[in-house]
Symmetry: C2
Subunit: 148 residues, 2 copies
DNA sequence: ACATGATATTTTAATATTAAATAAATCAAT
DNA sequence: ATTGATTTATTTAATATTAAAATATCATGT
């Protein structure tokens, strides 16, 4: 009972920073996305709508790359959004392997309605840190994420 | 096509820091846990074994709280670990609602074998940042995570 | 033209994850 | 002591997620 890990200073510092990073991302993200409850959107579904809203219609391949998800996953997420008529598929004539995903009118209405709420939630959540601290966090995280 | 979000400075900074935080946590965690591939353990399964290894036997309730997962999820994860004989369940005599989860000998062997690899991966990954940067990241993340 | 290889999507099988409903055990309070 | 509320674990239903296999399409080189 209670034998916590005792490593070198370097190890303890790395483990500590790592666990705090994971926990912060987890709890911040779940608080920020709480407003999605009313819409019955999952985080990934929101991510798809948001990408289409800001970048225009996209291939499933590009959605997968942008959202860091597998192709099979995107297929299912698009299926579920399509069932709710929030997006529609369209086969690309020039390259019939590809499928272009578009917002429907309903999808566009929904995301344009909830995106400002999302921004407000992000701002409120990050306001725990000062402006310069947010910038510092961004710098550190970018270096950590950008490895390969 | 390509209409990126244009908000106030405050909004852009918050959104930027937020997305970098999420991406860093995601990619760092997936790189760190790559070594689990050989063991066929999922991240949550690893989390359960690690908690039991360092804290001793625990109730499912406490595992759920520590790993920030729902009770139903923990039930399934323990099911799958139990199938592989890595943990065992034991009803608590004093309070028969509770179930105490223990490492088996095989579970103990496995986690004590892979934990040093895990630590090495964390150290290597976090070495992108200097010691003081790791500490700064930890401080910022702790404040962000600790809200409520 | 045809074989080969690469790419995009879908499907399948397994686990994760949550919310909600259920069942069992305990606790509290009159 | 009995009723009522709380707590713990399980089950169920739905979506997420990945890896791997299967399909379909395109591109290339001969």
């Amino acid at each position: 009972m209670g034998t916590r890990y005792h490593g070198t200073e370097e190890e303890v510092r790395a483990l500590d920073a790592y666990i705090k990073l994971i926990r912060a991302a987890d709890s911040v993200s779940s608080r920020i996305h709480r407003h999605l409850d009313e819409t019955n959107l999952t985080i990934t579904q929101f991510g798809v709508l948001e990408a289409l809203y800001h970048l225009g219609s996209m291939y499933q391949r590009d959605l997968a790359a942008k959202l860091l998800k597998s192709g099979g996953n995107i297929t299912l997420v698009i299926d579920n959004l399509e069932k709710r008529s929030l997006v529609k598929r369209e086969r690309e004539p020039n390259d019939r392997r590809c499928i272009r995903v578009n917002l429907t009118e309903a999808g566009n209405q929904l995301i344009s309605h909830i995106f400002p709420t999302h921004v407000a939630a992000v701002v409120a959540e990050m306001a725990t840190l000062s402006m310069s601290e947010q910038e510092e966090l961004g710098r550190l995280c970018r270096r950590l994420g950008k490895k390969e």
